[in-house]
Amino acid sequence: MAEVIVVTSGKGGVGKTTSSAAFATGLAQRGKKVVVIDFDVGLRNLDLIMGVERRVVFDIVNVIQGEARLNQALIRDKRVDTLSILPASQTRDKDALTKEGVGQIIEELAKDNDYILCDSPAGIEKGALLALYFADQAIVVTNPEVSSVRDSDRILGVLQSKSKRAEDKKDPVKEHLLVTRYDPARVEKGEMLKLDDIREILAIPLLGVIPESESVLRASNTGTPVVMDAESVAGQAYKDAVGRFLGEKVEHRFLEPQKKGIFSRLFGGRAA
């Protein structure tokens, strides 16, 4: 039976899609069977970040409306063979998603996957609610910034009241905090919320801290999930987080400003 994981945040643009792509790829690289679903109907982007945009034929709405079968809409990743992607529709509106339809898709995918990742759209409207409804676990993506932390708190409340687990009075959705775009240099200068402050306020277990890194833009330019870039600090931080998710004890890294060597201090150059 698969675990359903929602990647959510409330606030837009904090790194949900980047994290969904990295996590899905990272889990698949560890030999797990993974499918990642884009719930951002009308504004799909996961296909671009995963680099499969040229191969999208059908999408989740086609499947829900019976126009295509699920296995036809799934795109198999060419780099990691246990990974597949279910794209969102770009042309329909969010009302095309139904609870029953999504439930059937998840049930079907659960038969032959270990993990089903749901990349949530921003907000707390229909698309976001459906993305989290079936979740067993939630990765709450948070930036070190006041509005992001507040919205994360809001989405935690939604998880605790509007998820299927909450409705069925089962064990609650297991929550994980993933802090992204963390810039230790700015934290040190007192310009950015500290990790400890975020942890204290949200009070959920910490899964990982992904540093602000130039390699994330490079990864999206080329359509390669950043976790595949072994030199990137963000990629390494995602890899660590995947290890922790799988129950390994991995120390947190990249929490302190990078000590710059004489050459990089002379010639510039920021975090890889």
């Binding site: 040229r54 191969r55 079968r69 490079r218 330019n221 060597g261």
Partner: protein, 96 residues
Amino acid sequence: MSWLDFFKARKPEPASASQAKERLQIVLAHERIGRTREDFLPKLQQEIVAVVARYVAIDPGRVNVSLDRGGDMSTLAIEIEMPGPQQNRPRHAAAS
């Protein structure tokens, strides 16, 4: 490459922004067409499967459509799994 790059201790990589532009041009060209015209792929597939099914007992679940969008040319491949000669009986067609 200037002599300064030698000191950057990073292997030179092709700039990724040009890849971003190329990918966007291709995907947007296709999306813009899609906005003015209904998505015909679901229907196209149904009709092709129906035509094939008139001649061979096929399982509609074993039809795979794949697409590769390109700048000058796209390839659409419709793969239909056909039963072997011994199995060309309705029994196979009934399997889902």
